[in-house]
Amino acid sequence: MAKSPLIRDWLPIMLILAVFAAVPSVAQAMGQPFAIKVASRILVFAIAAVGLNLVLGFGGMVSLLHAGLFGVGGYVVGISSYHEFNGEALMLGPVAWGGSGNLLITLPLAALTSAAVASLMGVVSLRTSGSYFIMITLAFNQMLFYLAVSLDRYGGEDGLQMLGTLNLAGFDPSKRLVYFYAALSVLAVVLIFSQRLIGSRFGMVLRATAQNERRVKALGIPPIRYKLAAVAISGAICGLAGGLLAGGTQFISPADMSWVRSGDLIVMCVLGGLGTVWGPVLGAACFLLLELGLSGLTNAWQLPFGLIVIGMAVYLNGGLVGLLRRVRAA
């Protein structure tokens, strides 16, 4: 018999948030303030991975676009700060905007912009499916990448260093703890929202579409609209994560949006398991800690890492969820 959703879904989320909330005090007690920085980075990528997983795990769409959407969010925060600092207005068609270093304004803007870009690219890529979809999202990711490279005014290939001061509801996000708690709050909101989402009417349709699109159509539901909305929502979440990264490090560059990053995000989702909302948080933590651990052992860390990814693909047929299903069936 299935466990109650309270235990199956909400308990892990609360546990994860509680463990993260304890990180600063533990790190300080152990004299390892660096750990807070690492944890913040994990939080940011966890947010992005949770966002991607709505599309990947629940929508069944293998998207390689999400690093690009992440980067769009980062650039929105960066460019807004650039204009505020330099005192030049940003011309958005007829509207001139002075820019802003206020993350309460620019983070939502980052989410909205990424959602808009995701929708635009979704409209084209969702006309296709399967391998075409994967390749198109990859190509769109590179399109965004080259767009960032072409922005000479904002650092081009070298990226955009934010010189102005940012503020977050009166706090300074370059302070380690402020940033950590900001990222943690965003993750909490994103997790709660996503968990509600997949149990909602919308979530049921999305998950059904991933299993059998033809059946969903025969039930009278046009799947494309739901897939598009999911792409937009997950784009918004990735944009938020990208904005957070830029806001914390005061830096964003095209390297943050290369398609390899999209691959990393997929690996995070698979590592943690596609079947739950919270799985990708564990995946992001594993991924980044593994990266940190391996790169401490050897400078050729990508070699063992690549082998781990290959092993994962060979043995976790269909991800952890697939593994679980096989165990259950056996």
Binding site: G199, S200, R201, G203, M204, Q211, K217, A218
Partner: protein, 247 residues
Amino acid sequence: MTVLLETRNLVRRFGGLVATGDVSLTVLAGETHALIGPNGAGKTTLISQLQGELMPSSGSIWFKGADITALPSHRRAQIGLARSFQITSVLPDFTALENVRLAAQARQGHSFRFWAQIAQDRALNDEARGILVRVGLEAMTSVPASVLSHGERRQLELAMAMAMRPALLLLDEPMAGMGKMDGAKMTRLLAELKSDYAMLLVEHDMEAVFALADRLSVLVQGRLIATGTPADIRANADVQAAYLGHH
């Protein structure tokens, strides 16, 4: 009796092959209409066109007096055409209840509702549970469809179609692959549903067809060679030669 569904001179070609040749068929309101014919006669192709998965090469399809030839399949489902698939097509990761509930949910308009939990929607869950009881799957409510037996999946398929509260059920071989026991159970179930739904039934099990159908149409090589009551069809020499004789 009013006409519920009608095809007018429906033609579908695949390259040079004529899968549906000039088919004009009517299904009346409230009737159970069986579509029979040998393998490869084009029955599933015809159903697919009625449901909108395949577009006809020429001709038109009318439903409740409106031309629906150009309507996409999800719109047809919304106005009351429900299809069960020949090859079982349920959502494997969902439980039986979730499968039926999704069908009921689809009937209630768009699903752009992101916050309220569907598991807490009592009316919807009760409705889905009621349908599962009706098709005899009450014991399987919270079992994932992927672990149901073949016969149970066929029942689930039917339950999903019922949850759409359709004006017409398009049933593509509901007894395909079933053993004698399950087949008899399904026949009983369909007999119970006869009074509630109009049905267009594609089926190979002649015993079931003659027990259930009010009228039959016989399709051979894409063409309709006869339509009539079971007695007419039994007596029809063409049908005997073309089809029944082989059995």
